[in-house]
């Protein structure tokens, strides 16, 4: 059963949110989803870029009250 993980990287600057995501991805199961909470705009663009490059799936991004929620799925 795929799980959803929250990576709370609010307040951290590039490349902090990406690195926090990757650290948690390592130990998760294929199919698991990750929602990264970020206040860093650069990371919001960088995370989908990284996900596409290395072969995971980018699900989508939403924004609420100055916090971006970037969702991805582990594919391998």
């Amino acid at each position: 059963m795929a799980q959803k993980h929250i990576v709370d990287a609010r307040g951290s600057f590039c490349p902090g949110p990406l690195m926090e995501l990757i650290a948690q991805l390592k130990s998760a199961a294929v199919g698991d989803e990750f929602e990264v909470l970020s206040t860093d705009k650069g990371s919001v663009n960088d995370i989908p870029e990284w996900v596409n490059k290395v072969g995971h799936a980018y699900v989508g991004t939403t924004e609420a009250d100055g916090v971006w929620h970037v969702t991805i799925r582990k594919m391998k």
């Binding site: 600057f13 990406l18 990757i22 490059k53 290395v54």
Partner: protein
């Protein structure tokens, strides 16, 4: 899986340069590049165990970095090695001059490397100097 080679030479001990080098190393390493980092001159002292965590700021941005929640450069180098399999080498000449050995350095550093070997390994790589 490595699609390209990135070689990073760091001689500066200043915060902005160490931070930028750490960003290139960590993001490059987790994005599938084969990353090699060579630490020499003023950079090496920051990787001696027990060294003070903060490097001196070169300018206003470096001062600002300290007040913001940017990931510390040493954390990024460690993550580059642990998550992206980057190889971080202390320069053997710099070790000799500083009087430090491999055991005195941060645990994610490789054995000291000479310039001849580093240059041979860097062949065909994109080289970044900080």
């Amino acid at each position: 899986m490595a699609s390209s080679k990135i070689s990073i030479v760091i001689v500066s001990g200043e915060r902005e340069r160490l931070q930028m080098a750490a960003m290139v190393a960590s993001v490059g390493a987790v994005s599938g590049s084969e990353v090699t980092v060579f630490l020499s001159m003023n950079a090496l002292e920051h990787f001696v165990k027990g060294a003070k965590a903060q490097a001196k700021a070169e300018g206003a941005f470096g001062t600002l970095l300290e007040t913001k929640k940017a990931p510390p450069f040493k954390d990024l180098f460690r993550q580059a090695a642990e998550l992206g399999d980057a190889k971080v080498y202390p320069c053997s000449m710099a070790c000799d001059v500083l009087g430090v050995e491999h055991k005195d350095l941060e645990p994610y550093l490789q054995e000291p490397l000479g310039l001849t070997r580093f240059l041979a390994d860097a062949e065909g790589a994109q080289v970044y100097t900080f």
